[in-house]
């Protein structure tokens, strides 16, 4: 295998892993936007919260590094579930306290509140866990399982971390699609997204649906944060800001409100991020992705797969 191809595959692998994390976050953005028509600015910070909270849970449990198999099978799921519950719960609380009272106000009020919330959360994280990079313990080894199989160099990898990523996130995403597409609750969610007033009139408890949506979105973001820590090994208080905006770009790319679109968009943006990190380097990934966001909103606001909401002023 040529070196260029190996490098490409390595970039693809990074891109897919970014994409997976972004997808989990983007799903939260798009689902919430679909129902309450607001951009939950603080959503990215739930991702950060998941990272740090899972770290704290691990600290309490004092696991050995790397995790022995029993821990992976028994404790890791518990940590994931606990983080998901806490992050989801936080999101529900945020909605209840800061967003719900303003639902009827001007369009800008909930947005300004969300900005304030995001800012407050970020700064709180910096205060509690510091402003510098925080290391996540190397719980899952990075041994290259396909070493020597494809080539002599160690460029193309497939590690236990990749297995973890797949095992956790694919069932989650499938589960979510099934939940939204096939269950009664999911149908209620889709109905509320299409027409909140009408949904209320046919007996759907819209407030509860909104709370559930926020919970699911938050939980996904929390899982994303944990996975990110396990996979990439480090994080900072501000990671949610950047990843959040990238995830939002993914949601817009796929079509706001469109669940499949969010996942597709996330993988595309993940690839863009990985490629740009590698081939261009430095801070240009941000410039490229943010420019993409602006271009999307100007030229194709409905996204690739079509949006359920209007982005333009009607």
């Amino acid at each position: 295998m040529s070196q260029e191809l190996e490098i490409l595959l390595s970039v693809v692998r990074t891109g897919l892993s970014y994409g997976t994390v972004l997808a989990l976050i983007a799903l939260g953005y798009t689902m919430v936007y679909g129902i309450v028509e607001m951009i939950n600015f603080a959503h990215g910070d739930l991702f950060t919260f998941g990272f740090f909270i899972s770290l704290m849970i691990w600290n309490v449990l004092s696991p050995p590094t790397p995790l022995p198999p029993e821990w992976v099978i028994l404790i890791l799921p518990i940590v994931l579930i606990l983080t998901a519950l806490l992050t989801g719960g936080l999101n529900v609380a945020i909605e209840r306290v800061a967003y719900r009272p303003l639902r009827k106000s001007s369009k800008l009020a909930p947005l300004i509140t969300a900005v304030g919330m995001s800012f407050a959360l970020q700064s709180l994280f910096a205060y509690i866990w510091g402003g510098t990079t925080v290391n996540y313990p190397r719980f899952i080894p990075t041994t290259n399982l396909i070493a020597g199989l494809i080539s002599e160099t160690n460029l193309v990898k497939f590690t236990p971390r990749d297995i973890l990523l797949l095992v956790v996130t694919i069932p989650l995403m499938i589960g979510l699609m099934y939940f939204v597409g096939r269950t009664r609750m999911g149908k209620a969610m889709r109905a509320s997204a299409q027409d909140r007033e009408a949904a209320g009139m046919v007996g759907i408890n819209v407030n509860r649906i909104i709370a559930i949506t926020f919970f699911i979105g938050g939980a996904l973001a929390g899982v994303a944060g944990t996975i990110y820590g396990l996979y990439f090994g480090q994080g900072r208080f501000i990671m949610g800001f950047e990843f959040g905006l990238f995830a939002f770009t993914s949601a817009v790319l796929g079509g706001v409100g469109n669940i499949g679109g969010a996942v597709l968009g996330a993988y595309i943006i993940g690839m863009v991020q990985a490629s740009s990190d590698f081939y261009v380097g430095g801070e240009w990934s941000r410039v490229i992705i943010f420019s993409l966001l602006i271009l999307m909103l100007v030229f194709r606001p409905s996204g690739l797969l079509g949006s359920t909401q209007s982005v333009e002023k009607v």
């Binding site: 607001m38 951009i39 800061a98 009272p101 303003l102 106000s105 369009k107 800008l108 009020a109 947005l111 300004i112 509140t113 900005v115 304030g116 919330m117 995001s118 800012f119 407050a120 959360l121 970020q122 700064s123 709180l124 910096a126 205060y127 510091g130 402003g131 800001f241 905006l245 939002f248 430095g282 801070e283 240009w284 941000r286 410039v287 943010f290 420019s291 966001l293 602006i294 909103l297 100007v298 606001p301 209007s310 982005v311 333009e312 002023k313």
Partner: protein, 393 residues
Amino acid sequence: MTSQISSAKSLLASAGAGWNGFMTAVGDGWNKIPRWAQILLVIVVIVVVPPISTSLERATNFGLLGQLNRALIYVALALGLNIVVGFTGLLDLGYAAFFAIGAYAFGIMTWPTHGLMFSFFVAIWICALVAAFFGMLVGAPTLRLRGDYLAIVTLAFGEIIPTLVRNFKEITIQIGGWTLIKDFNLTNGPLGINPLGKPDFGMVEEVFSLPSGTLAPGVNPNFWYFMAVALVLLVLFVSKRLEFSRLGRAWRAIREDETAAGFMGINVVRVKLLSFAIGASFSGLAGAVFASNLGSITPDAFRFQVSIFLLIIVILSGAGSVWGVLIGGVFITIFDGVFLAQILPAIFPNSDVQNLRWVFFGVGLIVIMLLRPQGLFAPAQRTRQKPAVSAKG
């Protein structure tokens, strides 16, 4: 539990009403004073500040005049943001980018390494124009977007522009085989640029036969205080003139109902772009003054926190109220610079209280939106506005 909540609510309501009453009383009192007395009062206040702060300084060592200068710069910026957010109702989350453009435009024009060496008095106006241009550039993609998407686009620009500034250290432009520009250092990247140009009073010195350099302001806080005051007065003047003018009405109509405004004959595209342009031009001026005062600028002065801080000033003070933003801007910036940044860390020396500053402001935004969205420092919702013509004809 509910009874406690409702008594808390009524307490807040009466506090709010009391505050309203206070603000209205102050406003009414002010309006009763004849014009000449108002102007005299303002001049007196402006002039006594430096000596008062110097004497306070001996007691407290907070760098009060410097804090006030910083506050005045932020007020000028906030008044610019007020045009976009307060008058026109467009949520701009990346406003610090225009501040950066103003400052860096000034820097590029007066950095010895580039050798352009514009005069301060010429450069500041060019900075205003450059910033206005960029204002339109940022505004143009947002014209058809809903409020929240507009905000995101401005945020994206707010991130892109400082990032570009940080990275324009070695610009190389190649087309095909031709190298047009190689390794051009525009902004010196993360290190920032210095020294920067100062106002040159050489001609005045000649007229009064003073030795060259006597009137050089350097970083003299008194000089820069008066410069900042002049800046704020200019920006205040323009804001007040525009507020109730034809353009100001058009801006506010767009804020209230953009579609209806279009039906009433307002060219919404043009008026929105003007809002971005004029708002940004204030930052251009403020950026230039800021840069010249410090004599050096780095990209760090224009991060996202600055955008949010400016937004906080506007929202907390009362978006759309020029006087509110003036008072609120001074108060909030000094509160932040003196109390939060200096007094608080002195009381709690161990913890990282710096970060709590931002938590405080973030929570402040939320609380204001929930409890008092019209802001703290705006005169109580006016049902009577000063007519251009009095009832007596």
